[in-house]
Symmetry: C2
């Protein structure tokens, strides 16, 4: 099944907006076993949209088009594609009822200009929108019109909160029934932290060689402080191949695997704390709140995360966390003893089971010969001791903050598992 | 000048990685006055890359190709394009010296497999890479080979920290000298917060009509809690048109304009505090550290941002910020009086000039009939009083946190200007 994605929107090509649809749709489709051959972004104009769709129709079995289904004057994807395909637009009462219901639930009258969204190309399947007003539209294109076989064109609304549920609830089932894979497909992604991409590859590639010869595919995806290993296979033996490969990978790098299927480390931590009925506090200097921010992005974090301090200044470290003036004077704010006292103070004062502390130099300024930019100490206070590790993350400021919080969370994860 | 962007990388089409090059390059190019006609992502394979490049060469005057210039086995963009264009790859000693220097500065021997990066297509201009090992390559393609006029193809390395300086320092000047705009171009983006897109448009569109008739272009870009107004013009009168338009827009919605040219609100706040020699502390509940995180993303924040508290629990609000038990019992944690006492406590205890407090319900759980999910109170303590505003942000958790911190920062911005 040859798949292409077309994102429409002049704002994308002006750089106003980051295109997150590409990654989201590609990940969803590849998890289902479909490969995407090409992704294209074009402006909102008729010739640009029609040319991109016509070219894709000559190659692809499925074309996903996003954006331009709204009620405003630059939302014309529906018209342009109907014209290209020679389909009339007809008023669809089910869609109109959905639109009226959407506004009624918000105690508002249906604005007149939204009625254009109830126009549907002849013969199109309507994908109802439970989070917005523009329906998705799925059209089958007869074999021979553009390419030898039949193809599907599916238009999806641009807002992510409308597109995501529509894809999961309606497009994915439609693919399974109308564009099924020739063979069963399975994939498993294992998320690791603490090893570089080449190290992970060196450890697992040879031991997996026999399985690869039998049809296993391995993919590596490296991001700051994370390497994802994607195992996939097709055919009758897919399940067996993946399960054997998982066992081998876990045997070789198991301690670095913090999750599967693109879990994020903060949600793994919140889950572990909840399961053990334990609580956490944090004391951050150079990460400036990012550790707390990432933890509180997880719904339900408040059950186990009690809170924390951002103590940028020495005075605050003393006054609020009980770091001793002597420690700061003798060792400096960026030091093992300061990290230790910060963690201890945070744990005691917040009455938490665990506390993480971070003190370091994020840069770009503030470094010295002995403590260059990127130097950081991470403390973990547990019910019976305090551990401190030193790390060196000479990265740009935002990546430094992210990688450092990742290292702190990993320190806690290993403690909670150990 | 017709421009197309080709991003290469199988990992992009598997959804492993978010494509940030599109937005970054599009914004840079549109700020220089160039419009991008199309962006394409293709996998790392020879046929896919060559087909995309061949198609683009039939249309575009400039093609920017990103990725696939590294030293590993799947980095083959250079070869595939050289083959397509019928150019031999020749060893370039300047590039090899740069690569050797890169590793020497890191006290490492040059790995043998990096030598492939010193291969340069015959006649290509080398764009030296001061942040990595793969050089950029700019090639002119003779008129008539693919399309009537001459065109340029520029290959750029994938890592953003290499691509960004190479574009700014070498590609932008190359465009100005070799692919100049026919007319002078100017643009100005004004960043607003606090008004919806249609409200901004309703206020300024009619008053700008005369200037639009004279050649002014207006673009709107809406993001959560921000609407950017982009004013641009070409030709001899561009400067005058933009300056008149700016005056009109500032006259109508000036109080909502917090910056220009895509400044971010936290960096505006840090700048205002620094200029006034004032300091800030924060006390966050439902935003869980995001306010502090955003402020500390700004280099130099430590000069004016003293620190803060994340007080998820009532006990922490009492103990660390001095919120009275009576206040919490009578009004609840999400209330005007609690926000007031949090801001006051944070300002006093941190000895800061200003303090911001946030208490609310981020959701998805925790709402009630009287205080539904999205309810939030924001406090601002100044040297002589405490203001509290109530907002309602019924959004997903992460957007709630972002929009709420934006509202808090805007409250402080108006105080600092007033």
């Amino acid at each position: 099944v040859q798949i292409e994605i077309i994102n429409t929107g002049t704002e994308l090509l002006l750089g106003c907006i980051l295109n997150t649809h590409q990654q989201w749709l590609c990940r969803k489709l590849s998890d289902l076993g479909y490969l995407i051959a090409r992704q294209v972004t074009v402006p909102d104009t008729g010739p640009a949209i029609q040319e991109a769709v016509r070219e894709a129709l000559e190659r692809a079995d499925l074309i996903l088009v996003t954006g331009g289904l709204g009620p405003t004057s630059d939302d014309r994807t529906r018209d342009f594609i109907a014209t290209l395909l020679g389909r009339k637009l007809v008023h669809n009462q089910t869609v109109m009822d959905d639109i009226n219901g959407f506004f009624a639930r918000r105690h508002r009258a249906t604005p007149a200009h939204t009625e254009v969204q109830a126009l549907v190309p002849e013969g199109a399947l309507v994908l109802r929108n439970r989070c917005g007003t523009a329906p998705g539209l799925a059209i089958t294109i007869d074999a021979g019109k553009f390419k030898p076989g039949e193809s599907w064109l599916i238009m999806l609304p641009g807002p992510p909160n409308e597109l995501h549920p529509m894809f999961d609830e309606q497009v994915a089932p439609l693919l399974k029934s109308h564009l099924p894979l020739r063979e069963p497909f399975l994939s498993l992604t294992l998320n690791t932290t603490g090893l570089g991409e080449s190290v992970v590859e060196n450890k697992i590639a040879s031991p997996l060689k026999t399985l690869v010869d039998a049809g296993l595919e391995i993919g590596y995806c490296a991001r700051p402080s994370e390497v994802d290993v994607r195992l996939s296979a097709r055919g009758a033996h897919a399940k067996q191949l993946i399960s054997q490969a998982e066992q081998i990978v876990r045997g070789l790098v198991g301690e670095y695997i913090f999750g599967a299927s693109n879990q994020e480390l903060p949600s793994v931590i919140i889950g572990l704390l909840a399961r053990k009925h334990k609580t956490l506090a944090v004391a951050e200097s150079c990460t400036g709140g990012n550790l707390a921010h990432r933890l509180t992005n997880v719904p339900g974090a408040s059950a186990v995360f009690l809170g924390g301090w951002i103590t940028y200044q020495n005075a605050a470290k003393e006054k609020f966390l009980g770091v001793q003036a002597k420690t700061l004077a003798e060792h400096g704010a960026v030091s093992e003893p300061t990290a230790r006292e910060m963690a201890l103070g945070a744990r005691t004062r917040m009455c938490a089971d665990y506390a993480l502390s971070i003190t370091g130099i994020a840069g770009p300024g503030g470094g010295s010969g002995a403590k260059p930019v990127g130097t950081v100490f991470i403390g973990l206070a547990t019910p019976d001791r305090v551990d401190v590790v030193q790390r060196f993350n000479p990265l740009d400021r935002e990546t430094f903050k992210y990688v450092t919080t990742q290292q702190a969370l990993e320190l806690l994860r290993r403690e909670l598992l150990g």
